[in-house]
């Protein structure tokens, strides 16, 4: 573990931008997001969970799949340096690992290139992730429900703790180790630095609300699939899709062609299962034509279907959807309601 004094942080970011396309938290017009930066001055280190999800670094809101004209189809290759992200939170680090399960391969055919998303892989594989500990988790944070925690380091390359006057940096992966070994301007962290980090971790942990019992959630959800609980829980949902657009693990997308006269591009754009058109077929038939069907789909996908396929929940407890929902749907309450539901049971 090394210590980087904050007065050397500008130099550190400066040297990082030499080798990487560096993304960090930036606040514009009161909204925080991860953006490419040139210097440390642009970074807003006060924001905890960014308003926009950092998944957009690797899976942009809209992305060109290929271009075409009368001569045929052209792949659009990414140019430039590998990506480094400074200041990801533990929840978001985990989100990227979950998205990698979807985009990196297919669970049935892990080595088959047909199921490897080239646009995800060219950005995510080879990236360098600096995650930063949350010393002051928010009231909407619930990462501890799904095995996370404010000082979680798993999945990161270099784990960083802000101890006030300095950043403590702990290599987590091999890649992170190689990077930290080559860093200049740092010194070995002292015993008191480490003690400070431990105190911060303990305080942060104490700030987290206790996780409710979630054992069997995956199966419980299947058990109440046809129950009236969904009408009640989704009654105020307006299917706006805000939850999906701020979510760090929602990965559904639409594919559209743009262009005129045989020239144009095929793009993919974030989409959401909250929208009726998401599943509406050309015939007009829609297997999820009711609002509650779509609300249920999103909950089932995150806490039951994904778990069937990957053994993990597709939620990291970042709390963005809780903050973003215009009508106050709180996914934590939904989960608690399902777990404590004593209704008629299935069908």
């Amino acid at each position: 573990m090394v210590r980087l004094d904050k007065d050397r942080f500008g130099d550190f970011i400066g040297s990082l931008t030499g080798d990487y396309e560096v993304y960090a938290t930036v606040t514009v017009d009161g909204k925080s997001s991860f953006r490419e930066i040139e210097s440390a001055d642009e970074i807003d280190s006060s924001c905890l969970v960014t308003d926009r999800t950092p998944k957009e670094i690797f899976f942009p809101h809209s992305e060109v799949l290929f271009e075409f004209d009368e001569d045929g189809v052209r792949e659009v290759k990414r140019k430039g340096k590998p990506i480094a992200v400074w200041g990801l939170r533990g929840c978001d680090v985990k989100s990227l690992a979950l998205l990698d399960k979807v985009f990196g391969s297919a669970r049935q055919m892990p080595d088959n290139e047909m199921f490897q998303d080239p646009y995800w892989k060219e950005k995510y594989d080879g990236s360098l992730i600096f995650s930063i500990a949350c010393n002051e988790p928010r009231s909407t944070c619930f990462c501890n429900w799904f095995g996370g925690g404010p000082h979680r380091k798993e999945g990161s390359d270099v784990f960083v703790v802000d101890i006030g006057d300095a950043y403590l940096m702990e290599p987590v992966s091999e890649k992170g180790r190689a990077f930290v070994d080559k860093m200049t301007g740092t010194e070995e962290a002292s015993a008191s630095d480490k003690k400070k980090a431990e105190e911060l971790a303990s305080t942060a942990k104490g700030m987290m609300q206790e996780a409710p019992p979630l054992e069997g959630l995956k199966e419980t959800l299947k058990g109440v699939f046809d129950d009236e609980i969904w009408e009640e829980m989704s009654a105020k949902c307006v299917n706006c899709g805000a939850c999906a657009f701020v979510c760090s693990t929602c990965h559904c997308f639409d594919v559209q062609d743009e262009g005129k006269g045989g020239k144009g591009k095929r793009i993919r754009i974030w989409d959401s299962c909250m929208f009726p058109i998401f599943t509406r077929e050309a015939s007009g038939h829609n297997p999820r034509h009711l609002s509650k069907d779509r609300f249920r789909q999103r909950v089932m996908h995150k806490y039951s279907y994904f778990a069937d396929n990957y053994g993990e929940m597709l939620c990291t407890g970042c709390g963005r959807c809780v903050v973003a929902c215009p009508v106050g749907v709180d996914i934590r309450e939904v989960i608690k309601d399902v777990m404590s539901y004593q209704g008629k049971g299935a069908r």
Partner: protein, 277 residues
């Protein structure tokens, strides 16, 4: 690495209009590059993403059989914006194809058994692929029974081929239409009713049933009544689909994706999915 989103070029070799209303057209596509033809190996029941650049992409089951080399066949019902554009294709036009995608009818499992194929409407496409495949490997299979129903005689796909099959003594073909019309000498009645009348033997038998949801809904209870076990009844499912490779999240039914876990499922598998039960 190769880019899975980029389609290969194929050329429209032949266009066949299947019905007088011209809502159903069959397209035979030939490979533009020899390398693509060599690497494209598929089985009955698989599908492709069919692109017209600038207009979009839609999934269709492959109606040709792997035993018919040199081309791929698709039959397209004109319904939405992409299928409308596909209907404007002429011989010689270039289209984009991604695939083969998805799983297939378990013809290996069927070996040595009797096969009952039940189809309705224009969903007969991958069933044609299956039947052609089974006929080509005729000695590997027992009795082959085909029940195929449409609203009126004009709507049968592949009419010339059906006439050929009719002449064979190693295939028992039952064509039915919803309501009697003049000149029709085949059976009359909905597919579920006709299936019950024919009552194919369950002995060492496998069933593949594919058609509109309403036909499936009423045929399955008949099959259960006839004592076909769910594990020996297969169907092919459809949902709105985009990527075809398990990423875009659109075509799921429960934890299964039609594109990578299907489109072919046994009734037993379907019974375990909450959204389908």
């Amino acid at each position: 690495m190769s880019n899975t989103y980029i389609p290969m070029n194929m050329r429209v070799k032949k266009v066949m209009v299947e019905d007088p209303d011209k809502t159903l057209r069959t397209f035979d596509l030939s490979f533009v590059r020899e390398a693509d033809e060599k690497s494209f190996t598929y089985m009955p029941g698989q599908f492709c993403e069919f692109s017209i650049l600038g207009k979009g992409e839609s999934p269709f089951g492959i109606a040709s059989s792997p035993t018919e080399p040199g081309f791929l066949r698709f039959t397209v019902n004109r319904t939405g914006s992409v299928t409308n554009q596909i209907h404007y294709l002429r011989e010689g036009d270039i289209v984009g194809i991604r695939g083969p995608l998805g799983n297939w009818y378990p013809v290996e499992k069927f070996k040595g058994g009797n096969v009952v194929v039940i189809g309705g409407g224009f969903a007969f496409t991958t069933l044609r692929s299956l039947i052609v495949y089974l006929l080509e490997h005729r000695q590997d299979y027992g009795d082959l029974t085909v029940i195929y129903g449409v609203r009126n005689p004009d709507l049968f796909l592949y009419k010339d081929e059906l006439a050929e099959w009719r002449k064979r003594d190693d295939l028992s073909l039952h064509l039915t239409i919803d309501k009697a019309v003049e000149g029709w000498t085949g059976m009359t009645g909905f597919v579920p009713t006709v299936t019950k009348e024919i009552a194919p033997s369950t002995e060492n038998a496998w069933v593949v049933v594919c058609g509109p949801p309403i036909m499936i809904k009423f045929t399955l209870p008949v099959l259960t009544e006839l004592k076909f076990p769910d594990a020996r009844v297969y169907t092919s499912l459809e949902r709105r689909m985009k990527c075809g490779i398990g990423k875009c999240g659109r075509c799921n039914i429960g934890s299964k994706y039609i594109c990578i876990d299907g489109p072919v499922f046994s009734m037993q598998e379907i019974g375990e999915i909450p959204e389908m039960a």
